[in-house]
């Protein structure tokens, strides 16, 4: 992997999850094993929810940027996204999933961002 690095920060630590990325890439599929089917399903559903969250967040940021929202509306939007973020993290933890686990390749769907 090292010889594929063309430019990197002096300390690679910010990307340390990369060290396990290859293993993740290999397991980045929905696990259909009957014993863990619930976790596999949760992984798929949460991946889609996370994608939707990111799309909605971008949309919200554009609307705020457009300046058509009141202070109050911005505050409410922000609180909603904050809460959503927190809930998603709790769900992720409940199913023992990492942030990286929610990067299933969704094909063309993943390019909606």
């Amino acid at each position: 992997m090292r010889d594929k690095i063309l430019a990197a920060p002096s300390e690679l630590d910010p990307f340390s999850p990369d060290r396990t990325r290859l293993d993740n890439a290999l397991t980045r599929r929905v696990n259909a094993d009957p014993d863990s089917v619930e976790r596999g399903l949760a992984q798929l559903v949460l991946t889609i929810v996370e994608l939707l969250r990111q799309i909605m967040e971008r949309q919200a940021l554009r609307r705020i940027d457009g300046g058509t929202l009141s202070e109050d509306q911005v505050e409410r939007l922000g609180r909603t996204f904050m809460e959503l973020d927190k809930r998603l993290e709790e769900l992720r933890e409940e199913f023992g999933l990492t942030e990286e686990d929610l990067n299933l390749d969704l094909g063309p769907l993943g390019r909606l961002l």
Binding site: E50, I64, V74, G78, F81, M82, G110, R111
Partner: protein, 199 residues
């Protein structure tokens, strides 16, 4: 059982154990293989084979783990999508894939007393940084793909072979002028992210 590595219109035969099966000016490069456990080593082996093939010819990489029964099944699959694959090959001809990830150096905000407005402006700040990097790099690429991920930016760029050095030096310059960011650029990779149907 055979494992597929690449699709090309280059007539040069690959080195053994790789072989080519041709159909209407296009070829699938493959090797006899048994289905085996998925390991990091196996994935890297596939990657090395594709990279070596890429050094000598224009190709569409086939993703790891693509097995078919025999060469005639591969030829049949090729014939069925010939025009689409030829168009995809033209799309990546003369280019490689460079991957860029960016992260921002800052203490994690996540303050529970934070207001909704602060939360959104922190998000907007992150998005502006990601745009800053992407907007500088994307003009140097033929195409790009942005991917969702926990980082500030996770992107793949399709870059002309001749422009790779320029692209990398731009990443370095961005890194120097933005010490608050961590930029990681890897490659050159076979154009995996651009080998499918054009958007």
């Amino acid at each position: 059982m055979i494992e597929l590595y690449a699709i090309t219109d280059d007539p040069t035969p690959p080195d053994p154990p790789l072989r080519a099966v041709r159909s209407d000016g296009m070829a699938v490069l493959y090797a006899p293989a048994e289905r085996r456990a998925v390991t990091a080593e196996a994935l890297w082996h596939h990657e090395h084979v594709v990279e070596e093939l890429m050094a000598g010819r224009e190709l569409l990489p086939v993703r790891y783990g693509t097995f078919v029964a025999d060469p005639s099944a591969a030829a049949e699959a090729l014939a069925g999508r010939r025009d689409e694959l030829a168009a995809s090959l033209d799309r990546v001809r003369g280019a490689v894939e460079l991957a860029v990830r960016a992260e921002i150096r800052e203490p994690e905000e996540a303050d529970s007393t934070e207001s909704g407005r602060d939360y959104m402006s922190a998000k907007a700040g992150r998005m502006a940084k990601a745009d800053l990097v992407h907007d500088r790099l994307s003009p140097l690429a033929r195409e790009h793909v942005l991917r969702p991920g926990p980082e500030l930016l996770r992107a793949a760029y399709l870059v002309d072979r001749a422009a790779v050095e320029h692209f990398v030096s731009l990443v370095r310059r961005l890194q120097e002028s933005h010490p608050e960011l961590d930029l990681l650029c890897t490659g050159p990779w076979p154009p995996y992210s651009f080998a499918g149907e054009a958007q």
